[in-house]
Symmetry: C2
Subunit: 168 residues, 2 copies
C-alpha cells in the first residue's frame, strides 16, 4: 500500500485499516486522519505518537489500560485482538510455573501503576519479557509511564509497517 | 449498581462495563477511571464530558468518527455495536426512499464536516432525525462540531444511566 492510497482513504476506510495500530484505540487513528496527507510511513507514525504525547496523563494511562495484560485474564479468556495474539507468539496461552510468576508480577505492576505491563513482545523472548517486567516493576511511576508509552509507540510502528507493507 | 460498586472496580472491570459509553472509545472510560472515586452518576458523567472537552480538535473529531453512520455502510453491513442497534430502533435497517434521501444527506454531511452525523436517536422519531440532519448540514463547522459532541455526551449520559440502573 503506498501513501497515495493511504491519503485517498475516507475516514471510515482509514479507521477500518488503522483503527488498531494503537490497541483498542480507534479514536487515535480517527484523530490522525485529520492530519492527512502523510508524506511517508515515518510521517504517519509521527502523528500517532504526537497524539499520544498530547493527551492528558489520564488519557495516556487510558491508552495503556486498553492493552491486554500479558498472561492476564484476557489471555485466559481468549479475548485478545488478532494482532495481540500474533505478537505474543506461541505458548503464552498455557499457564506453567513461569507464567504463574509472571501473572503475580503483573498483578503487582497493575496495582502499583494503575495500568497493565505493556511490552512490544514480538521483539523479545519469554525470559526477556519476565526480566523486563521485574526490572520495570520498581521504577518511579512517571518514568514508567513514559517507558510504557514508548512500548505502545513501538508496537504501533510495527503494526503500521505491517499494514503499509514496509520493513519496520 | 451503586457508586460504591463502581468505585471498587479495577480498571479492567471498569473498561469492560463502561468502555462503550462513548461509542468505540474504551480509551475514554479507561482515562475516566483515573478520576475515581465518583460521588454519583452526575459526577461520573461529568468526567466523561470533561475528557472529551479537553481533547484537541482532531481528537474530538476522532470521537465522532468512531460513531456509526446512521443509514450508512455500517448499518448495511450489520456491524453496529449492540448499543447502537438498540438506540436506532426498529425499521432503520431497510433502505426505502426516505432512507436513500437520508443516505444522500449523510454523505454530504460527511464530506462537509469530516465526521458522520451523530444524534441521540433514541430521543427522536425517524422524521425528526431527517429534519435535524437537513438543518445541521449547512451550519458553520465549528458550531456543528460542538453540537455533535453534545449529542455524543447525551448518548453517553443515557448509556451510563442504563448501566448504573438509574433514570436518565
Amino acid at each position: 500500500m503506498d501513501m497515495e492510497k493511504v491519503n485517498s482513504m475516507d475516514f471510515g476506510e482509514f479507521v477500518d485499516v488503522f483503527g488498531n495500530v494503537i490497541e483498542r484505540c480507534p479514536l487515535i487513528a480517527a484523530a490522525v486522519w485529520s492530519q492527512r496527507p502523510f508524506s511517508d510511513l515515518e510521517d504517519l507514525e509521527k502523528h500517532f505518537s504526537a497524539f499520544i504525547d498530547a493527551l492528558p496523563q489520564s488519557g495516556q494511562e487510558g491508552v495503556l489500560r486498553c492493552h491486554p495484560d500479558l498472561a492476564g485474564r484476557e489471555l485466559q479468556r481468549g479475548t485478545l485482538t488478532a494482532e495481540s495474539q500474533r505478537e505474543q507468539g506461541a505458548g503464552l496461552t498455557s499457564l506453567g510455573a513461569e507464567e504463574r510468576l509472571r501473572a503475580e508480577l503483573n498483578a503487582q505492576y497493575r496495582a502499583r501503576f494503575g495500568f497493565p505491563f505493556v511490552l512490544a513482545a514480538r521483539l523479545s523472548d519469554r525470559e526477556a519479557v519476565l526480566r523486563e517486567l521485574a526490572r520495570r516493576l520498581h521504577r518511579p511511576p512517571a518514568l514508567e509511564l513514559r517507558t510504557a508509552l514508548g512500548e505502545v509507540k513501538k508496537i504501533g510502528r510495527l503494526r503500521l509497517a505491517d499494514l503499509v507493507g514496509a520493513d519496520p
